[in-house]
Amino acid sequence: MTAADADAAALPPEARRARCRGLLPGLLAWLAGLVLFLPVAWMVLTSLHSESDAATNPPSVAASLTLDGYRTFFGAGGGTSPWPALINSATAGVTSTVLVLTLALPAAYALSIRPVRKWTDALFFFLSTKMLPVVAGLLPVYLFARDTSLLDNIWLLVVLHTSMNLPVAVWMLQSFLSDIPVSLVEAARLDGARLPAVLGRVVAPLAGPGIAATALICFIFSWNELLFARALTAVTAQTAPVFLTGFITSQGLFLAQVCAASVVISLPVLAGGFAAQDKLVQGLSLGAVK
């Protein structure tokens, strides 16, 4: 089977078929892949160059490699250590993801396996909160945090990231739980299995990969989040993205260091995203694409 190709319209059928079998589409795909990947590759290469090799025009591609960029980023040159920020990001990511799953799993169960009446309305309410710009609620949150001494406190961020990811998780889990055949659940219940047993032995194994993908995507969104973190944290609770924005202004322009920092901070997301590639589409499309 050959897929349709817009630019092949004008060719006669024989030539077209020959072309489709030929190497051209594969070559084009490779070319496109490499062009889009080039900035990422360049970032990694620059992170391994010395500062003077990183700042040349034309670029020094074959310059010798060094880990100095990473050493300086991790505070070797007397700069601020990124570890507190990385730990804050990990804390916010892991804790908010656990909270999200604790709240979203029962909710998704009540929207799929044993649906409440008008469950579509509830589902769409969850989604609608995602469409209203978060920035509009930022000021009251800021004032509340200031008056309760929660500014620059990582737990405030945990709560906000939980609310930010909860609708996404409810939609994703609802989609994954709906993939479980109702008949399996009903059969287990008719056999006299109690609810915990049904959940543990029937639902959990089948929904496991979906739950893992949901957790991963929630963690990524929390790890990436900048607006709340930027407005509500300062020194002690700053997350990795906030550290990254401040890092530039305080240290001036050091390309190798900027690249090393970007690589380090993106690494967990890249690793997680590649690991979850198969479920990524279903997750990011809120379960609409399977």
């Binding site: 795909a29 892949g33 809120l286 609409a288």
Partner: protein
């Protein structure tokens, strides 16, 4: 072949009526038992996301500047008058619309081309797919920094470095070395965002392409349809719902984009979109009342668009079922 764009939700609506479990309970109690698992999530979400909006609404009716804390007083709708007449905020509305529309459309078109290429089998397809996803998996701030400093930098950036190379290659003595961000600020932000969002669109559209039934395509070919006709009359109609879904999800994220605008241009040179403008109003100008009024207007506008968008989503899901 089942259509993967199905909504489980709607499928369940038409599903068999379910039994209540082994022991019958009174109907009211049963209804609450079914509802109970949903409540913690609902209550939490309303408390954390809806209460701040209510507070924003109240604050928007006050004249309240953080630098003059003692002078907070009720002023009715005068903040709204100020906001509507604020040229900066009006520009931000236009910028947001231009930014969102251009990024969504461009990444959708590029994503479609890539998805069409990746729909064929060729050597190393899995690897190319992985390479293509990488831009989407960079932390947005890191991606924005990468574009700002490593690609756009007028002296050492890769773009101008490539121009120098090309100049040497073709014997041009002084190749152009544009200052990308100052000479084209909005396109500079857009390019960085398109680069990050094209893989996302590609993934959704590729899933759409791979869900086409091969029988339909073969039947069309037997009827003598060429590649273009198959694309125009079979593939494109099938992809319509996937294109709508990509548009909707892309728009939700890009309307609210803060990272790229904040990092690449700091909202200067006419690139301040609404999230950035509101952030700046309360963070730099400390005009709490006006920032809140702007927030209320933005929420109202978003609610109108969201109602429309939700209708698209629910028709997507219903459409999936009627076809599936």
């Amino acid at each position: 072949m089942t259509d993967p764009l199905t909504a489980a939700p709607a499928a369940r609506a038409g599903a068999v009526p379910r039994t209540a479990g082994p022991r019958p309970k009174p109907p009211a109690l049963r209804a609450w038992a079914t509802r109970a698992p949903l409540l913690p999530a609902l209550v939490f979400l309303i408390a954390v996301t809806q209460l701040p909006f209510a507070a924003t609404l109240v604050i928007s009716l006050f004249d309240w500047n953080a630098l003059r804390p003692g002078e907070r007083r009720f002023t009715g709708l005068s903040n709204y008058t100020a906001v509507v007449h604020d040229a900066g905020l009006r520009d931000a509305v236009v910028t947001t619309m231009v930014l969102t529309a251009s990024v969504v459309v461009t990444s959708l078109v590029l994503g479609l081309l890539l998805a069409l290429l990746l729909d064929r089998s060729f050597r190393g397809r899995g690897l190319v797919r992985t390479l293509l996803i990488a831009p989407f998996l960079l932390v947005p701030v890191a991606a924005a920094l990468l574009w700002k400093h490593v690609l756009y930098n007028p002296e050492y950036g890769l773009l101008n470095g490539a121009l120098t190379w090309a100049g040497r290659l073709f014997g041009v003595d002084s190749p152009p070395q544009p200052d990308w961000i100052s000479s084209m600020p909005l396109p500079a932000v857009e390019a960085a965002l398109v680069w990050q969002w094209t893989p996302f669109m590609m993934l959704i559209l590729l899933a759409g392409l791979q869900s086409r039934s091969p029988e339909t395509v073969q039947a069309a070919r037997l009827d003598g349809a060429g590649d273009w006709q198959v694309f125009r009359y079979v593939t494109l109609p099938h992809l319509r719902r996937y294109l709508e879904l990509g548009t909707l999800l892309g728009a939700i994220h890009i309307v609210q984009n803060f990272d790229a605008v904040f990092t690449v241009t700091s909202g200067s040179l006419g690139t301040a979109n609404l999230p950035y403008a509101i952030y700046r109003t309360f963070y730099q100008a400390h005009e709490y009342g006006q920032a809140s009024a702007a927030g209320v207007l933005v929420v109202t506008g978003s609610a109108v668009i969201a109602t429309f968008a939700l209708r698209v989503v629910s028709s997507l899901f219903r459409g999936g079922v009627s076809r599936g």
